[in-house]
């Protein structure tokens, strides 16, 4: 049985149709990478999975139940930026989820429960390699460290689904490689289901177990908003057999450079 099911999702903003006929079944533990041209609705699709936005028609089910219409701890998220809290240090950012859990009114815990929250935050800091920067504020971290913090923070509530919207888009190539490795490691450890939007087609092929390409299949040159994008390619990726999909990868990269 599929874990995440999208049925006939369509999204329109006023006259403009963004997405149409998006249907999808994703198995538990899959790493789904999503690529497509700018403005093709891939981030919109991610926001729908997150509950930040509602589809104009169609619906999403998670584990057989209709999805909550607002974000909740079942689904973690990492954005390209602004995902961490600028007024909290690294340690405080990582303690926050436990403090919220432990205190409905103040959102702060004290004494033994605070020590417990700190221990858990400390463990996450080790995992994401930020233990040396515990007392720094996000503005004092490099881009890569900020994203590591964002990923670590998103993992604390043990979400079943992790949504990533171009999480490494603003990072330099070296840092990006390290971050990809960290993400894969965490994915294998937690067994969560990952949806990741990226501009980088190579990244999509390297990380994913399944690749979705969003594009418009129909075009009306007189009225470009008439048709929305949908899933045009849905490729299972087998990392041992990357050669099999190499031709498609090359073609996609080619079409991306053509458009740019």
């Amino acid at each position: 049985m599929s874990f995440v099911t999208a049925r006939q999702i369509a999204v329109s903003y006023g006259d403009a149709l963004i997405l149409e006929r998006v249907s999808l079944e994703v198995q538990k533990g899959a790493f789904v990478t999503i690529v497509g041209a700018s403005g093709c609705g891939k981030s919109t699709f991610l926001r729908i999975l997150l509950g930040q936005e509602q589809p104009s028609s169609g619906h999403v089910e998670i584990d057989g139940h209709p999805m909550a219409p607002e974000p909740d701890p079942e689904r973690g998220v990492v954005f390209q930026k602004y995902s961490v809290f600028p007024h909290l240090t690294v340690l405080q950012n990582l303690m926050l989820p436990f403090e919220l859990e432990g205190s409905a009114f103040l959102g702060r815990v004290f004494g033994a429960r605070k020590r417990e929250a700190r221990d858990k935050a400390q463990a996450m800091m080790e995992t994401i390699g930020l233990a040396h920067a515990a007392k720094r504020f996000p503005a004092q971290l490099s881009g890569g460290m900020q994203q590591r913090l964002a990923i670590g923070q998103a993992l604390l509530k043990r979400p079943k689904i992790m949504l990533l919207d171009e999480p490494f888009g603003a990072l330099d190539p070296g840092t990006r490689k390290d971050m990809q490795a960290l993400l894969l490691e965490l994915w294998r450890e937690t067994g969560m289901t990952v949806f990741m939007v990226t501009h980088d087609i190579q990244e999509a092929f390297e990380l994913g177990t399944r690749l979705l390409v969003f594009d418009k299949v129909r075009h009306d040159p007189q009225y470009p908003n008439a048709y929305g994008a949908t899933v045009t390619y849905d490729l299972p990726l087998d990392h041992g057999e990357r050669k099999k999909t190499a031709a498609i990868e090359a073609a996609l990269i080619q079409s991306q450079t053509d458009k740019a």
Binding site: P71, Y82, S83, F85, H87, L88, F105, P159
Partner: protein, 273 residues
Amino acid sequence: MRLINRKPTRPARVALGALPFFLAILAYAIGSAIRRAENPADKLLPSFEAIAAAFSNMAFVADRRTGDYLLWVDTFASLERLAIGMAIAAFLALVLGLLIGVLPIGRALFSPFVSAFSLIPPITVLPILFIVLGLGEAAKIGLVVVGTAPLMIRALGQAILDIPREQIVKAETLGASTWQMTMRVILPQLWPHLIRAVRLGLVPAWIFLISAEAIASTEGLGYRIFLVRRYLAMDVIIPYVLWITLLAYAIDRALALLSKRLFGWAHLAGESL
């Protein structure tokens, strides 16, 4: 090198900053000297000695009628009104700013009213305040509140709306309720904006305070300068104006410093005035 890239060294910066002050004082000294050459008893541009004498008279000599040291009585009365008025305005700004900024329902309910209210010229409300609240302290404090609260409410509401949506969504995925989000994500980020709003609000606050004191009061900095105006007592008015300016400057700097001390994270990037 282009002018836009030429930065003054530190001594040069201090000298450049001091230059306009020096020129203003020099211009006054020359004007004063010319007028006093014609008429040694000139009242319009008194000499620095006369100003200093009048000021020390206000500050350090007890008033013959009341036995009060007028400068300090005036200063205390004005600052008390200003502090109470700004405290009320800041409280209103925080509560209404949060309702407008956090809750779409609160925004729909209060935002049009606050926007409309902020367009009322506050000074036109003064007669109403005098009639309703009487000529006592309440009306003067009320004018400070009416003159500053609307713009402070709007500034804080906007500051909340400017918090990236990503942070709010992130907080939701970490299990935060609306109340918890307000307490742990929004309010802590709002404090530096509240200080900034108070700093900006103090500019109109002084105007309305002095205006209200000029019209109905028995002590206060504004009362004093409008009282002695009748005797053309420029030797009192000029130091009082400088004293008010100094107070306003000191309060503004103190608040800026407070913000940097308490909310260092908010001052990590970029320059701030």
